[in-house]
């Protein structure tokens, strides 16, 4: 086949998706070249499997196996060669556990550790098995192991939700128990002081059985009844307290775990498989929530003695569901809805958006296994995940919804975000891509999920509406690889036909992600090695070509087969159009995340231009004002002049001087008065106290100049300044003026 014919055949495939000419083969069994080193995940150290623990006060409910092994080694293995053997054995054991989890073996970490220790120890010989069992003692925690599979996101989120639920239950029970005890104390105190509490039987019961026969309780009853003050609880108050107590004891949101079998009310269920069931449950329980919040409010007021029927009775009569706010709803458990892959479009989940926008305390996990779903409008264009990939972006626009979108492979890295989402007071949406339903060449779910994020098909981002007042504070997508680039690039090492080492930096695009799903193999055509030509350009570069140039070239991807031999596969136009649209959406996401933000760049350019113009103007002005020093250029002179101007501007102004006073008028430095009562004892109408109990001069006519001078002399801090006499007829003024002189 000559070159022209080959190009026509390639172009025909790219344009039409049909392999008509010879030489173009199917791309079955091929995977992106970037995945070549990761075929056997079980042998590679990465975050999975996870260990889900239940430690109420531990470091968190989710750990990675590799993190735990690292912790054990830090604790047990000495540094240097001495610990090297233990490190190797421990890493071998970790790999064994990972392989078991990868192949579907479930169970507690301690069980898998035991089996792996036996297997690894047998392999290593000597006392390795004992040593590895000893390392288990340094773990200090245990839990279920979870591999990165389709079920993992739901298990992880549900586990974290349960831990949060348990913590909230403890806090609620603490509050509820304290209120119940105090309310019961009020009733008990009322009983003790009541007529019923002073009967002989009640007194006998209060003393206790060992001394029941030692006293004449009838006589005791007569005595205490005669002298003890009565304190009958008003009927309305008693009813209020008993009602609140009954409500708190019978609430089903967090039943008392200490209650005997059969005595505790059955707890409400808060985990659901669809939105309709969760919404129905919330509606059904709303009256109980109102009654519980009301009972708590009444209990707090009663236990503090602040309940005022005149003010509060009317308030509580009108108290209803509209009175509840987000802080009150935070007392109660959140509703967890886990929607399985493929059930997002079910009628039972049709009200998902409505539920999220209503502010209900609901945490929804939407899983998808297909980020490339076809549009329901018909064939022709990829919709690529209208419901799945765009669900999270739509939810961010609702306001008040915490949103986290991530592939399953990235969930462990985002565990703090998950915790923040579960703690968020309001609705939360977790949109997770758990891995392709039909992966190519047996790719592990971890890899296809990672590919979704790598290729920007399902980028990871979070939106926390309470993180701040603007998008910069709320929106975060730093977990995406190379977020400032269109497509992430990684070095790919391979050897050519002459077995020489070559390095390429292919971009990982949306088309590479499509190659991971065998349903879309028809969009690719493998080109034999001897048909490679210069018209073939990498798909990422092809997208950047202008129309005419694009027509002269065909896009390809690098792929590998089962033997890790490198191939080039052509990509058809339809898939490239989808890739282009994916890139457009990625650019939009970048702007939201503050990267290449067009508004910011425009503003920056404008400000930079203005600053440069201003600097030029200042330089011109300085040329005229500052004579240039010998040997210095204009720029140096300007540089030295500017710092001097800045120092002058930063000079601190002096403190304000004391206001001038008329020396003839008596006054007191009130702020320095220590309230010692000396002047008040002389004349409490001449010297008055202000609101802070510091003295000032009141009515001069109420006292004499002699009293003023005596007060000045007795003032411990000498803050009274007598001034001049206001009554010239007062006797002994000459002597008084002399005595007043030191205080003027």
């Amino acid at each position: 086949m000559d070159r022209a014919t080959r190009f026509d055949a390639h172009f025909a495939f790219v344009a039409t998706g049909r392999r008509e000419a010879e030489g173009l083969e199917a791309a079955d069994g091929l995977i992106p070249a970037a995945f070549a080193p990761y075929r056997d995940l079980a042998r590679l150290r990465h975050d999975y499997p996870l260990v889900l623990t239940r430690e109420p006060r531990g470091p968190g409910p989710v750990h990675s196996l590799s993190g735990l092994v690292d912790r054990v080694l830090r604790e047990l293995a000495p540094k240097g060669m001495a610990g090297e053997r233990l490190r190797k054995q421990a890493l071998r054991l970790e790999r064994d556990i990972r392989a078991r989890a990868f192949h579907g073996q479930h169970g507690l970490l301690s069980e898998l550790w035991e089996h792996a220790a036996a297997a690894t120890g047998t392999h290593s010989g000597d006392n390795s098995e004992e040593v590895l069992r000893y390392t288990a003692s340094a773990l200090k925690l245990d839990g279920d192991t979870v591999a990165c599979d389709a079920a993992m996101p739901a298990r992880l989120i549900a586990h974290a939700w349960e831990e949060g639920h348990a913590a909230r239950a403890r806090a609620f029970r603490k509050l509820c128990d304290a209120l119940c005890v105090r309310l019961a104390d009020i009733l008990r105190a009322a009983f003790i002081h009541s007529a019923a509490g002073m009967t002989a039987e009640a007194l006998r019961a209060s003393v206790g059985s060992p001394h029941g026969d030692e006293f004449d309780f009838a006589a005791m009853s007569r005595l205490v009844s005669r002298r003890a003050p009565r304190d009958e609880l008003p009927a309305a108050r008693r009813g209020r307290i008993e009602s609140a107590l009954a409500t708190l004891r019978s609430q089903r949101f967090y039943p008392d775990p200490r209650a005997a079998e059969g005595e505790a009310a059955s707890a409400y269920e808060f985990r659901f498989a669809d939105c309709a069931a969760a919404a129905a449950a919330f509606r059904e329980r709303l009256p109980a929530m109102v009654e519980t919040v009301k009972a708590i409010a009444i209990a707090e007021l009663e236990t503090e003695g602040r309940y005022d029927p005149a003010h509060h009775d009317g308030f509580f009569e009108e108290f209803a569901s509209h009175s509840l706010n987000a802080e009150d709803l935070a007392l109660f458990p959140d509703y967890l809805v886990c929607i399985e892959p493929g059930r997002n479009a079910d009628p039972a989940n049709a009200n998902l958006m409505e539920m999220l926008s209503s502010g209900l305390p609901v945490k929804v996990l939407v899983e998808t296994g297909d980020a490339l779903e076809e549009a329901t409008l018909g064939s022709g264009h990829f919709a690529f995940g209208v419901r799945s990939t765009r669900l999270a972006m739509t939810a961010t626009s609702l306001g008040g919804v915490f949103v986290l979108q991530a592939p399953g492979s990235n969930l462990y890295a985002l565990r703090e975000r998950i915790a923040a989402g579960l703690a968020h007071r309001g609705p939360t949406l977790f949109s997770v891509f758990a891995g392709s339903d039909e992966p190519a060449a047996g790719l592990a779910p971890y890899l296809t999920a990672a590919a979704a994020m790598q290729s920007r098909a399902f980028p990871s981002f979070s939106y926390d509406p309470h993180a701040g007042g603007n998008m910069a504070a709320r929106f975060s997508f730093e977990n995406n690889p190379q977020p400032e680039a269109d497509w992430p690039c990684a070095a790919l090492e391979y050897s050519d036909e002459q077995l020489q080492r070559e390095v390429a930096h292919p971009a990982f695009t949306f088309a590479d992600f499509a190659l991971c799903d065998r349903r879309y193999a028809a969009h690719f055509a493998r080109v034999p090695r001897d048909h490679w030509n210069l018209a073939m350009v990498p798909a990422a570069d092809w997208l950047a070509l202008a129309g005419d140039a694009a027509a002269q070239h065909v896009p390809y991807l690098l792929a590998v087969d089962a033997d890790n031999v490198l191939h080039r596969v052509l990509v058809d136009t339809r898939l490239m159009q989808a890739t282009s649209r994916c890139l457009t959406l990625w650019h939009r996401l970048q702007e939201l995340g503050g990267i290449h933000n067009s508004h910011a760049e425009r503003l920056l350019a404008r400000e930079k231009a203005a600053w440069e113009a201003q600097r030029a103007a200042e330089l011109e002005a300085l040329k005229g004002s500052v004579p240039p020093e010998r040997g210095k250029g204009e720029d140096e002179v300007a540089a030295t002049a500017v710092p001097a101007a800045q120092v002058a501007a930063a000079a601190v102004p002096e403190a304000q001087p004391e206001p001038a006073r008329d020396p003839a008028v008596a006054w007191i430095e009130t702020a320095r008065c220590p309230s010692c009562n000396e002047c008040q004892l002389i004349n409490d109408k001449l010297f008055l106290y202000n609101a802070n109990k510091q003295a000032y001069i009141g009515d001069l006519k109420a006292g004499t100049y002699r009293q003023m001078v005596e007060a000045a002399e007795s003032c411990q801090v000498s803050i009274i300044h007598p001034g001049k006499p206001w009554n010239a007829n007062e006797s002994g003024l000459e002597e008084l003026l002399e005595r007043a002189r030191p205080f003027q």
Partner: protein
């Protein structure tokens, strides 16, 4: 920002109290006594913070200072000599929500009560401790106290006291778990109030030594400091005190001191001329004993009774049948 329904309701009908509302009995202190200034400053604090009188308690030992609870219209406990701290600690453990203040004197705290004082600092329970230091046993009419200056002639030291005065600040700063130490003087009321206010807002054992005048038995001992503001060194800092322009005009001798620096605090505390006034040390991260030891589960009355019965039954003498 929203708050739960219960808090809305409580705040809706809050009572406000004036300064006079906190005045209990008429003070019987001598006219010119520094205790009056301390009383005024504390009443101002109660008014400004709108402290509920039924949730505030003043605990004292014996001495002029310890008359304080009688003059506050709150709960109070006028206890035994030197034993204010254990009573205050017991109140705080049983009723951690109450605001607890301790009024003690240089004899009550630094002499007979010294053992309780040291360990109260270690416990770091959330309370405000005011040491009314007038350098003399005033109530019992002029005996030397641990803080009396060397050479002070009193009824018990007619030839003058032989020992250097104890410095309560350096002692307090030397005890583990110390979290707040300050010094004030009664003749600068603005700083006196600011320091008591800062002590109130500190979570932990807030120790304030207030150097106060005794016009009856030591009328002139502080005259040099009253006459010359330069002999008072005001400690200022953005995390400590800031002066009003009027006070800054009078007291120009100021030193910037970071309350987080304990070593520097110890150095400053040992100075007696000039007298340092301000917050010497503050560490909000020291845990409070009542929180560390708080029982997890709430005990019902029935559980308490059962526990008591069980303990008492162990030593009960059973009557012969």
């Amino acid at each position: 920002m929203t708050m739960p329904v219960t808090q809305c309701i409580i705040k809706l009908h809050e009572e406000r109290h004036d300064l006079e509302d906190y005045q209990g009995g008429v003070p019987r202190w001598c006219s010119g006594c520094g205790d009056n200034a301390i009383l005024t400053a504390v009443q101002r604090l109660c008014r400004d913070e709108n402290l509920a009188p039924e949730r505030t308690v003043f605990v004292s030992g014996i001495g002029c200072s310890s008359r304080f609870p009688h003059y506050m219209k709150t709960y109070g406990f006028h206890g035994l000599h030197g034993r204010a701290f254990p009573v205050a600690e017991g109140i705080k453990m049983a009723r951690p929500e109450l605001k607890v203040f301790v009024n003690t004197g240089d004899g009550d705290c630094c002499s007979i009560g010294a053992g309780h004082w040291i360990h109260a600092i270690r416990y770091n329970m959330d309370m405000v401790v005011i040491l009314h230091d007038n350098h003399v046993y005033g109530l019992t009419k002029k005996q030397a106290s641990p803080t009396s200056p060397i050479g002070f002639k009193s009824n018990t030291t007619p030839r003058g006291s032989y020992l250097e005065a104890l410095n309560p600040l350096t002692v307090t700063l030397g005890v583990q778990n110390v979290s707040f130490v300050a010094q004030a003087v009664d003749w600068v009321p603005e700083l006196l109030f600011d320091i008591i206010n800062a002590a109130y807002h500190h979570k932990g054992f807030s120790f304030i030594r207030i150097i106060q005048r005794c016009p009856e038995f030591l009328p002139k001992v502080f005259e040099p400091w009253l006459a010359d503001p330069a002999k008072t060194l005001i400690l200022t800092h953005k995390d400590g005190l800031t002066l009003s322009p009027e006070t800054a005009r009078t007291y120009k001798n100021q030193l910037a001191h970071d309350p987080a620096d304990i070593d520097r605090a110890r150095e400053i505390a040992s100075s007696e001329d000039p007298i340092p006034v301000g917050i010497l040390y503050r560490n909000p991260d020291v845990p409070c004993y009542e929180e560390v030891r708080h029982a997890g589960a709430m005990r019902t009355a029935a559980q308490l009774r059962a526990g008591l019965d069980a303990e008492l039954d162990r030593v009960t003498v059973w009557p012969r049948s």
